[in-house]
């Protein structure tokens, strides 16, 4: 057994194209992702809104508004950067994009904008609230409040909101999780290669092995064992690269991350075996092409190229999420990062286990007691 193990390991290690697909290609993609995507989905914090105030009589008399505009802050950032200009200059600044809005104070406050956006909406909200507070003050004065009481009303405000900012909301992590998941499924290439080397009707090497005195089950077991060991080693290198060099956040439960990756490798191996067995007459290039297509489609639906696709599939077509092994691994890693170890993580692991068992069962039934009438291997 050790003899077979040693030489099968050597054969696998010398297979340069497979080493590229399973090791170098993920590392190249990871580097690309790290360069482009790591901070791509960082939320833009609030930026000061640039406005042009038309310097007319109404604005000049409204010193309260002038003071408020200059002193207002959003967290620690000034809310507005004010330029007091004429109407013509204001329109020019707006057209050039130097200001986000042009405001004219009068009987009615007019806000001229070039486009719909968050800055324009925030400007609108501020001026709406300012005039609404003026209206409220008039209502309270009409009801008999004194100016002192009014001052107290506007200064003694309440904060009715308890904010819980979500931790761990880095959306770009999903790209790296799908990459790991895709890489786990790429372990199927080794399995396809194993079937090519072991099924007597697929290659001359396999025909020779078939007539050797070693047990077919033992050969298969050794290949599966080596496939899993190789792929886990490769994935460990990729994971190490992501975690330490690129500092991708996987949460705090690294042991469970490794377990999820291991289940992904099992699933990938099973899928590769299944493809290798179900397409015996096709050449190895076609089989790897099929595996690549399935994996890339699964990766796309798991959010690799468009991260929101994962959520869309989950909401609108959940069955696709449950049968896609790439999504199962991605979701397991995501649930560890966002929720920690829990029901969702175990559900994904269980799904992967079922998927793997199904693949291995089908392969076992196909391979068991296979006999060949004639081996016309090319």
């Amino acid at each position: 057994m050790l003899h077979i193990l040693k030489y099968r390991a050597k054969c696998m290690f010398m297979n340069r194209p497979l080493m590229f697909w399973t090791l170098l290609f993920p590392l190249i993609l990871t580097t690309l992702f790290g360069a482009v995507l790591r901070h791509a989905y960082d939320l833009t914090t609030f930026e000061t809104i640039s406005i042009a105030m038309i310097d007319n009589t109404a604005y000049q008399k409204n010193t309260t508004l002038q003071k408020t505009l200059k002193s207002l802050r959003m967290e620690d950032t000034p809310m507005f950067k004010v330029q007091e200009v004429s109407t013509k200059k204001g329109k020019q600044l707006l057209q050039k994009g130097d200001v986000d809005a042009m405001i004219t104070i009068g009987d009615e406050t007019t806000i001229l904008v070039k486009e719909t956006g968050i800055k324009q909406t925030m400007t609108q909200n501020f001026f709406d609230e300012y005039t609404q507070n003026e209206h409220m003050a008039m209502q309270l004065l009409a009801a008999g409040s004194t100016p002192e009481q009014l001052m107290q009303t506007f200064t003694n405000t309440h904060d009715f909101i308890k904010t819980n900012n979500e931790e761990n909301t880095n959306l770009s992590c999903i790209f790296f999780y799908t990459l790991l998941a895709m890489n786990a499924l790429f372990g199927g290439y080794w399995a396809i290669n194993s079937m090519y080397s072991l099924q007597a009707n697929q290659s001359t090497t396999a025909a020779r092995i078939a007539i050797a005195p070693t047990h077919k089950g033992l050969n298969l077991f050794i290949d599966l064992f080596l496939n899993i060991v190789f792929q886990m080693t490769i994935l460990s290198i990729v994971f190490f690269y992501m975690y330490t060099i690129l500092q991708v956040d996987f949460g705090n439960q690294l042991g469970f991350v490794v377990l999820a990756i291991f289940m992904g490798v099992l699933a990938g191996n099973g899928l590769g075996l299944l493809i290798g067995i179900l397409l015996p007459q096709k050449d190895i290039g076609t089989k790897t092409g099929v595996l690549t297509s399935i994996t890339m489609l699964g990766s796309f639906l798991a959010g690799m190229m468009m991260v929101q696709m994962k959520y869309l599939v989950q909401v609108h077509a959940p069955i696709l999420a449950y049968i896609n092994p790439v999504n199962m691994v991605t979701d397991a890693l995501y649930s560890l990062y966002y929720y920690g170890v829990g029901e969702r993580y175990y559900l994904n692991l269980f799904s992967l286990l079922i998927f793997s068992l199904l693949c291995y069962l089908i392969c076992y039934r196909s391979l068991r007691k296979t006999r060949y009438q004639s081996l016309g291997v090319q």
Binding site: P17, L43, E108, T116, M136, H158, F160, T163, N165, V315
Partner: protein
């Protein structure tokens, strides 16, 4: 013509790979277009940005109903399910920006003026979230103030007072100019993603086909035939370009089916020309790679690898998948060495405005020039390498691999 027929016979063998990419891309894009058009609309008149929120009411009191009615006017309340994981997933994937949970006893505590009542979960540092928090607080403060000043009035009367305040609004005006509609945005995305599909298909198919033709024994057989090398190579080049144009045409038919109404204008035509130039540039890139790899074994694996690495690499770095304004400036500087960057940059410029102004025309000619230059450069490099190999007779019989 025999050469062209031979070329397309070889290409026909790769039909599975070609169809896989085209069908998957078309189906996914079709679904995405349908989703974008039903869930997003860009109005012609000014409309304020509405934050997407989830509102969960555990109190079911008059005060919580009042708040919900207010939020209904100001935000887009989405149904994201009731379980914690559904709500948190919606927050993570930016389906909603804020989740407002009204705890039991809110109405009673609000009347007493207690603070920190509403549970608001949001993504950290979200500008929209900050704005919404401020709006909610301001409204609740307004209602509370009226309740304190008019303690004998009912909630309905208080609401009327608050609504009277809210009717006082600024007048919003949009400056003149055409608005970008959602079809234009979708069109831009299609042309950006198209670059990936063109690269993936053309690199693989052209590369493998050229390898089939330039196999050692085939080349040597052809060299003693009455067909001159110049004649053969010219027709091979034409066949490559023809294949590239066919794939491009198929993709153009798809965009016309989904978004034909926004293609029949100047920017649509410029996008078409941009994508055609990109397709031809990709053909020459494939030719260069096939020349570089003509002496390797495991040709299919190598070309597969090149096709995937180059198509994904160019697309990510060039901004086809992730918008260019989100890519770090250092990476973007490097990306300027790639043709994808220029292609996507022009697509984005043509998508961001309805009319093509002078500045954009300059960018158009600049991009076309750069893409043409890339095409010529790749072609010349491929020719030089092929000539060098031929003179050294380095072609390997890949069948012996």
């Amino acid at each position: 013509m025999n050469i062209v027929k031979l070329y397309f016979k070889i290409v026909y063998d790769k039909k599975t790979s070609i169809l896989t990419y085209l069908v998957i891309f078309t189906v996914v894009f079709g679904l995405f277009t349908a989703y974008m058009q039903t869930n997003n609309s860009m109005p012609d008149a000014y409309e304020s940005v509405k934050t997407n929120i989830a509102f969960i009411d555990h109190d079911q009191s008059a005060e919580s109903a009042l708040l919900k009615e207010y939020l209904h006017e100001k935000t887009e309340i989405k149904q994201v399910g009731s379980s914690t994981s559904e709500i948190q997933d919606a927050l993570f994937y930016d389906e909603v920006d804020t989740v407002v949970q009204v705890p039991k006893g809110f109405g009673h505590a609000f009347r007493k003026g207690k603070e920190n009542l509403l549970d608001v979960a949001q993504r950290p540092d979200s500008a929209q979230g900050m704005m919404l928090k401020q709006q909610m607080n301001a409204y609740l403060q307004r209602v509370y103030t009226y309740q304190a000043q008019f303690p004998n009035e009912t909630l309905t009367q208080i609401k009327q007072r608050a609504d009277a305040d809210l009717k006082v609004k600024s007048k919003m005006q949009l400056s003149s100019g055409e608005r970008i509609n959602m079809n234009v945005v979708t069109r831009g995305m299609y042309f950006n993603y198209m670059s990936y599909v063109l690269l993936a298909i053309i690199l693989m198919v052209v590369g493998l086909t050229m390898h089939s033709v330039y196999r050692s024994e085939i080349l040597k057989r052809n060299s003693v035939s009455p067909t001159s090398s110049l004649h053969m190579n010219s027709f091979l080049v034409l066949s490559n370009i023809l294949f590239g144009i066919i794939i491009w045409l198929i993709m153009i038919v798809v965009i016309f089916i989904f978004n034909g109404d926004v293609m029949m204008n100047t920017s649509g035509m410029l996008l078409l020309l941009n994508s055609l130039l990109f397709a031809i540039m990709t053909v020459t890139l494939a030719f260069m790679f096939s020349a570089l790899t003509c002496t390797v074994r495991y040709v299919e694996d190598v070309m597969n690898g090149i096709s995937n690495v180059v198509s994904l690499g160019f697309s990510f770095l060039g901004g086809a998948f992730v918008p260019q304004h989100l890519i770090p400036s250092g990476i973007l500087t490097f990306a300027k060495l790639l043709p994808s960057y220029w292609y996507v940059n022009l697509n984005d410029a043509l998508t961001s405005q309805m009319q093509v102004d002078t500045g954009t025309w300059t960018k158009v000619w600049q991009t076309y020039g750069v893409l043409s230059l890339f095409a010529v450069t790749f072609f010349l490099i491929g020719l030089v390498i092929m000539r060098k190999h031929r003179s050294q007779d380095e072609f390997v019989d890949n069948n012996k691999a």
